[in-house]
Amino acid sequence: MSDTAIEATGLGKRFGRRGGRALHDCAFRLPTGRVCALVGPNGAGKSTLLALAAGLLAPTDGRLRVLGTSPAAARPRVGYVAQDKPLYPQLTIAEILRMGADLNPGHWDPAAAEHVVAGGDLEPGTRIRSLSGGQRTRVALALALGKRPELLLLDEPMADLDPLARHELMGTLMAQAAQYGTTIVMSSHVVAELEDSCDHLLLVGGGRIRLAGEIDDLLAAHVRVTGAADSDRLDAHAVVESRVTGRQLTALIRPAGPLPAGWRASAPTLEELVLAHLRNPEAPVLTTAPAATEESAA
């Protein structure tokens, strides 16, 4: 049993022979048992990364290990919900859950799947084609959870849900994570949506990993500083972003030592951290978790 849910080294994916790079030289490690926010702007490569981890796409370069094995071998232990929540429109809810049971013999949990569907007040005899976007999301999540996965990959899971359903389903996911130690990776381009529930962050921008690690560690590694524009330079520290408004300079830095006098320091919010990194593609990459371990390579 590996303690690593996903581990990438030099991971790249290119679509078509001359196509653009969706992902380039990605390296990170996600330990098991985490609830990870996969954040980045539209088109950053979040969906590609999730599809690679689910064993649905083959990487062009590099290596990807999922639950200590190849993504293809890990497929039975991985749950995946694609962004557009594909389901067979001609089946009823009851049929599609029965399909889940038939296709996952030996590890299907009907109670877990029905619990998710029941929360939405849905008739089992309703056909998938007559469901709303949010209701489809609920059924797709029920299929993924009924499989009792060790790793759950969710691509924009909450986008179609109303706030109430979002809150309720997030609660269901967190209960799943707490009860079975399921590792969950959720992508979103809205940071605030995931901030309260996640303890790990993967920030993707321009096809590269920009930040990777425990959210607390990442926050602790950064300081927002404010001072007069002519005060001592910040050269000794890694500056992610700095802005001058009038005579005042505000910057987000990774302090390398004690701050010089004249700077007021405060803790950044996660959103500030993410936005600062996305606005400044030149900012150095930070991964607080080791990128490769001897144990998981074995």
């Binding site: 689910a54 639950l67 293809a72 039975p76 389901l87 889940g100 030996g106």
Partner: protein
């Protein structure tokens, strides 16, 4: 993490049948209607038409009474049945390209299957093998019934289609069953390549048309031909698959058929000839030609299925957990 042999296998076939239930019912209805038509052709329709021809042939006066309607009915229904059977492979190709793979990849339900306990290898294998079994069984039954209906008219109905005509040759033998399997594989491959419903439907049909044309072009060359010389009075051989025909000069050289427009020109051309030569396949070559063409079509089917496998592997990476991809390929080819 290793797969436990005691764990039951996912019931993939059941869900494939459920997802394509309307197509399955439609296909079953088509097969039943065609089978009924072939049975009627072999029995009452052929008998009525033969009786009509007997009346006609026995008549030597200028005004005769014979059952013309029965003769025309047999001829029309025979043509409907033959064309319908010959069109079946293209219908299978259209369905396979559009519904079996194209739509699943377009809407993303293929990915749903791959993350719901069906490996891509199994997903493709079931999609090729199960419809192949159904299509092969149905077309073989229809071909046998069609051959029966054709044989019922042979020698009794003067307008009955000859064994050598394009539509009857294929509808009468296993070539059409093999072409239907090629259509299934071509449609599947088109869906995997294009990943969209409508373009895959079109490409699947086009590839099948290409395969059919290729097989038709190669068919006469798959078995050694017979060359026969006939006298000018006997005329050239017509009721056969003819590859080449012309005049035989008095010195024994082969001359092309004269393209003459006036009686004088024709007389001049025939004056040089001693007879006709014909390079052809007689009826005795019917089964060798059927079987070699079927083998050719099955080989093309295997190549298309193998290509589907490779395209899917390029799309998703390893088709199975460990190095059993070769095994899956073998299963596809033998299926």
């Amino acid at each position: 993490m290793t797969t436990d042999p005691t764990v039951p296998r996912p019931r993939t076939a059941r869900w494939l049948l459920r997802l394509h239930r309307p197509a399955l019912y439609g296909f079953a209805a088509l097969v039943i209607v065609l089978a009924g038509l072939e049975l009627a052709l072999a029995g009452p329709l052929a008998d009525a038409a033969a009786a009509g021809w007997r009346q006609f042939d026995a008549c030597h006066t200028s005004i005769c009474s014979y059952d013309q309607a029965a003769i025309l009915r047999y001829k029309d229904y025979y043509e409907y049945a033959t064309y319908a059977l010959d069109a079946l492979p293209f219908l299978v190709a259209a369905w396979a390209g559009a519904a079996l793979t194209g739509r699943e990849l377009e809407t993303g339900t293929a990915r749903l299957s791959w993350t719901q306990g069906i490996s891509p290898a199994r997903w493709l294998t079931v999609r090729l093998v199960l419809p192949a079994a159904l299509v092969a069984a149905a077309t073989c039954l229809l071909v046998w019934l069609h051959h029966r209906a054709w044989a019922a008219g042979r020698g009794r109905i003067d307008t009955a289609s000859g064994w050598y005509t394009l539509v009857t040759f294929h509808a009468n033998g296993p070539t059409i069953a093999a072409l239907a399997l090629a259509g299934l594989a071509a449609g599947t491959l088109a869906g995997l390549l294009l990943r969209r419903t409508l373009p895959a439907l079109v490409l699947g049909v086009l590839v099948t048309v290409g395969v059919a044309v290729l097989a038709q072009q190669l068919m006469p060359h798959l078995w050694p031909t017979v060359t026969r010389v006939t006298t000018l009075q006997q005329g050239g051989i017509g009721s056969a698959i003819v590859l080449d025909q012309g005049l035989l000069s008095k010195s024994g050289a082969h001359l092309p058929m004269p393209n003459c427009t006036t009686a004088a020109a024709c007389d001049a051309a025939f004056a040089k000839a001693s007879g006709y030569y014909t390079v052809y396949h007689p009826y005795a070559h019917y089964w060798p030609l059927q079987l070699t063409t079927t083998a050719l079509l099955l080989a093309i089917t295997a190549l298309l299925a193998l290509a589907s496998c490779l395209v899917l592997r390029r799309l998703t990476g390893a088709l199975r957990a460990a190095g059993t991809a070769v095994e899956a390929k073998d299963a596809l080819v033998t299926a």
